[in-house]
């Protein structure tokens, strides 16, 4: 059974008592979504905190039935991505163009558990993650958001459509366009040819 169903049931009767669980359950995935969309860990953290505050205030104004009907995964993702898109727009007006390579470093360090893999394997895997993260940030916002939600966060196409408020057909097109562009990006880098790195 979906653990979110039990969680919305608790939130509906005791928002303050259950909200900490909501934060702990969803913070990693929401931070991933924000970081992979924005590139900058500091921005991502602020966006996710803001998103949780908005989710809390929204639920505080909902009746119990409306909270029970919430589908937390797409709903929270939608809040995060709305805020992330707004922030991106504001930053673009103020900041010089992103230096993608340096920006994703902090995220790359955090990625992947230490599973005892040999050092060079881990280094290679880190390189792959870095290259993927950079390539992802190079995608247009629509395909970027769709790929993040579908293939990193693991939402269904229908859930992504709800989160991004677009028809499922548009989502499918954005996902495949995004994947195709990522493939081209990665294939152009001789050290990071996907065939060699990712089928190992």
């Amino acid at each position: 059974m979906d653990p979110d169903l039990a969680l919305v049931a608790r939130l509906a009767v005791d928002l303050d008592g259950a909200f900490g669980t909501l934060v702990r359950t969803h913070q990693d995935r929401l931070h991933t979504i924000a970081l992979r969309f924005l590139g900058e860990p500091r921005d991502a953290e602020e966006v996710v905190q803001d998103a949780f505050v908005r989710a809390y205030r929204a639920m505080a104004g909902y009746d119990a039935e409306r909270i029970r009907d919430l589908r937390l995964r797409p709903w929270l993702a939608a809040i995060v991505l709305n805020l992330a898109r707004n922030r991106r727009r504001r930053l673009d007006e103020r900041r010089p163009p992103l230096q993608l390579e340096s920006i994703v470093d902090a995220g790359a360090e955090l990625a992947g558990p230490d599973d005892g893999a040999k050092l060079y394997e881990r280094a290679a895997r880190q390189e792959t993650i870095r290259a993927l993260a950079v390539a992802l940030l190079g995608l247009p916002p629509g395909p970027r958001a769709a790929v993040i939600l579908r293939h990193i966060d693991g939402l269904s196409v229908a859930e992504v459509a709800v989160a991004l408020n677009r028809p499922e057909g548009t989502i499918k097109a954005h996902v495949s366009r995004g994947l195709a562009q990522l493939r081209i990006h990665l294939a152009n880098d001789p050290d990071l040819a996907p065939q060699r790195e990712m089928t190992a």
Partner: protein
């Protein structure tokens, strides 16, 4: 999978690699979020003209003000009373600190967000009334009770002021007993209350001496306006023109009318 794909193995590999971009949220995110929505609080010491104080806050506003001292004891008091987790922080956020500083310096208009959840409506009304008393002035408990439309609730006003969670920021020290004596104070007792009033430019000894001598009101024989003794309008009256009164009826009988600033008629029935 897509028209552009030349290598189906790579397709699968790319989709398998993407979930590895998942990261953990920073450890600071969850605590900061709970503070932001007001389900947990932070606190830090803040220098003030009245010595170091402790300020607790969350995303809704300031939730507690206390004397600086033993942190463990403060945390216990807070959690017992407010029932939220409390964490020490390095400093009060700059905007809150500036606002508190301005308020303590006498600026009543500076907006300070307060988190008064869980308090009764009566308590909040009493505290907001205390906020209207200017720095360097005092009002009797009965005055507060009359001003909020509950003239008989003098004792309840005293209790509400004693439970003020944000002393100094809400100046409950500016409310004194109706007989003119300084009265009790939650933030360190009567001695602390006298010290704070003195720091705000009042002489507590003079105030009490006047009260003992039966001085309740002061009028000006040039304007024929009668005030509470600490009203700024009363303080402006030169000694030559000061006329003391024991009661308002006596002042009215002498042709005086009540000051609109300090409204001495509020609570006059109890004080008389």
């Amino acid at each position: 999978m897509t028209a552009r794909s030349a290598n189906p193995v790579a397709d699968v590999a790319l989709e398998a690699a993407l979930p590895r971009l998942a990261v953990q949220a920073p450890a600071t995110l969850a605590p900061a979020t709970l503070v932001a929505v007001g389900l947990a609080d932070r606190y830090a010491e803040l220098p003030s003209p009245l010595g170091s104080i402790v300020v607790a806050w969350n995303g809704r506003g300031i939730s507690w003000v206390d004397r600086a001292g033993d942190r463990d004891a403060f945390e216990r008091r807070f959690v017992e009373r407010v029932r939220r987790p409390l964490h020490h922080a390095d400093a009060v956020p700059a905007d809150l600190a500036r606002a508190v500083e301005a308020r303590l310096a006498g600026d009543r208009r500076v907006r300070i967000p307060l988190d008064l959840r869980g308090r009764t409506e009566f308590e909040v009304v009493v505290w907001m009334k205390a906020l209207e008393i200017p720095r360097g002035e005092v009002r009797p408990y009965g005055w507060v009770a009359a001003e909020i439309g509950r003239p008989k609730a003098v004792r309840a006003v005293g209790t509400a002021l004693a439970h003020n969670p944000v002393p100094l920021v809400v100046p409950c020290h500016r409310v004194v007993r109706s007989d003119g004596s300084i009265g009790q104070y939650s933030l360190g007792g009567p001695a602390a209350k006298r010290a704070i009033l003195a720091a705000e430019g009042l002489d507590p000894d003079e105030l009490e001496a006047g009260a003992r001598a039966g001085l309740r009101y002061i009028g000006s024989d040039t304007t024929h306006i009668v005030c509470l003794p600490t009203c700024r309008n009363a303080k402006r009256i030169t000694s030559r023109h000061r006329v003391p009164f024991r009661s308002l009826p006596a002042a009215y009988a002498a042709g005086y009318r009540a000051c609109r600033e300090c409204r001495p008629a509020s609570g006059a029935a109890r004080a008389a």
